[in-house]
Symmetry: C2
Subunit: 462 residues, 2 copies
Amino acid sequence: MNRLDDAIAEQLRQRFGSDFSTSAALREQHAHNTTWHENQPPDGVVAAKTVQDVCDLVRICHDNDLPLICFGAGSSVEGQINAPFGGVSLDLSGMDQILAVSAENGTCTVEPGITRLRLNEELRRHGMFFPVDPGADASIGGMAATRASGTNAVRYGTMRDNVLALKAVMADGALVNAGRGVRKSATGFDLAHLLVGSEGLLGIITEVTLRIYPLPEAMIAGRVDFPDVASACTAAIQGLQYGLPFARIELMDKVQIRASNSYSGMNLPERPHLFVELAGDPDAIAAQAEVFAAVVDECGGENLDWESRAEARNELWKARHNSYWAGTAVRPGTRAITTDVCVPLDKLATIVDRSRKELDHRNIFGMIVGHVGDGNFHVQMMVDFENAAEVESAFSFVEWLADAAISLGGTVSGEHGIGQGKIKFMEREHGLAAIEVMAAIKKVLDPKGILNPGKLLPVQSL
Amino acid sequence: MNRLDDAIAEQLRQRFGSDFSTSAALREQHAHNTTWHENQPPDGVVAAKTVQDVCDLVRICHDNDLPLICFGAGSSVEGQINAPFGGVSLDLSGMDQILAVSAENGTCTVEPGITRLRLNEELRRHGMFFPVDPGADASIGGMAATRASGTNAVRYGTMRDNVLALKAVMADGALVNAGRGVRKSATGFDLAHLLVGSEGLLGIITEVTLRIYPLPEAMIAGRVDFPDVASACTAAIQGLQYGLPFARIELMDKVQIRASNSYSGMNLPERPHLFVELAGDPDAIAAQAEVFAAVVDECGGENLDWESRAEARNELWKARHNSYWAGTAVRPGTRAITTDVCVPLDKLATIVDRSRKELDHRNIFGMIVGHVGDGNFHVQMMVDFENAAEVESAFSFVEWLADAAISLGGTVSGEHGIGQGKIKFMEREHGLAAIEVMAAIKKVLDPKGILNPGKLLPVQSL
């Protein structure tokens, strides 16, 4: 459905010149999902350079009932960048400046288009880093909009915890300051954290103030294998109960280990593994490593191996870092269907075990990697898309897993978000009353429904 | 203005029996502000025992356009519990059950009326604690509703960071599940954190799921004095930049120290002090203490003193714990006017110094205590309320300080909230566009404006 009639296109061309385009290649690129979601390209693309560009585009879209979809790095997983109702993709990747860094305050302020790796390059010069690491080199604006997290969340939290303030252009073109760039504030409704995770439905994030952290003086990485998933989970939980400040603690199941061995030419025991990282004062982490070793021993872990030099640490973590690519290599010709859920920690072993059985039962090749300190894990299924039954079985597993997570008190996504892929689970997880509150907020802040329609909420008019 | 006519009163009596009261003493008690705010009692009080009580009361208030104000422990500072438009005070202190504790998950679920000290008594049996400590023995529901924090926030964050999920009864009587009790979730608008800090204007919190933490194996407390506030702030910032995980780090200025010496019979040097606490593995905190000692030395700190035994630690922290009472004792016959602001860390020394000069210039006896790791500090002025000029000068100082904080990029309240006392600063801090978004959300979720009218937002119709 092309909503960009000639008059609107002319209006966009006049305002944005060559920053507005309807080229097929560009439109395709702006709906290029990194996952299995079908591409639904927008009718046009506007590359914004300034906040004023964003305000003006929103006003044009508002006046013409034209959908507006934000695009940062295009690395979202659940179809967040698609344009199911057409409209304009707003490319924010050119708004990528670092506006302020203060090591003293432990904060930085950035434009939304900067990616996390480039931000960290700059922060390193200040002796600081930004810990939230979703794997992909995502844009900070997109990470805020999807409430991203990743391996470091066990220690540093998610985007919810690390966005202090932001600026956003609302559906009527107004620029809102949401929050202040300070450690804490108790002054009014928390608009910043309403926008974090709103997936572009409530406003367009044009500036983000983040917490940043001093680079740790020292770091050690560890690897240990266990007879079963339950023992590995117990070791993680006990470590947390001892107060061990893991920088990361990751679970990989035996199928994932086997794939990684094959892909990376390693020879790890084909059993569930924990990969951990400790960071901080060298004496302090040495003490923590001893505590963890005792916990591991008690839980039946074997072959605990520590490395402190950067290269050796990277080698040790290679299996974890390559987990995604290992899957694609092990079953050539297949594509990945990935999903994530998050449950209370004491339910993690149960649901991981059940997932393994369910995958085997369905004869699906699926690997499991978990942020075990958060109760969050991913299942990456390598699926032959030529085989309709296999595809259907994989999607039905996604649904099975979502229901299993809900029934254990968990959530249908720890970090991928809802997008198009998980809308059908929203009411099951939150209940109708909560959905109605979300819909009411959407309706009052975006009465015409122009911001990212067809995402996140079960019912949206346009 | 009594909005409780006979018909409504009869309706309430029929539904709530003796849990509904219009006794003058009870009404006064439910508007008893711990601070200088004038008491504005409600027309009646309902003591809720169940969620159904809350739902039913909200429906009656909704049907009759009757204001509803929540009451937990009555320890809020900015007039949050007052009833400026009359109506009913909903006393939630009887809903004080602990519904679940899981050390493995690091979570507990409680009813809103439980106070933090009683919660911590119970958690201790599980080897856990809840760190948010605003000083007063506040109710957890009230702490969530005001986004409370306190001395531990530097390490553990505020209520924003520690509320994982909650349930709330909305203005139409619907019960909403906001969030899931897991470490992270990326599924929809963050209703839980919209309600945290909403001061009872958007919904009534009836259940809270919190993060809890393992009791540290060991703890040491330290005290050190500095030639000036700037050196003390620099030491705190440098400590944070070294990654020291202070459990608490508190600044007291020389006037506060003098008052505490006098009140508690101590003999501390009358200079700015830092009080710190380190907690965790004994070897790790020993290593951290050494790092801090080096930092202190470099910044000109003197007389650094550590204590590890519980009694000695409490003795060392006595000056800090007694700071509020020290003020009231030093100038008998006066009452306290307290205020708090929060600024970026690198502005803290500047604003504390300016505050001291401004207090002296106005000839106001004011003591300064700061959560220096957050950039948040309190000024407690001991004011003779018989002296109109002195009272006016103190209130004008509050305004001066709010403006100073805003101009330095800060916020007009780090942890006391807005209530009635700071409404006039809301637009200055947030700008009109943000206030309009807040007002739109209020309007759509509480169209009749029955929930805590006259608080937080500059413009509210009833």
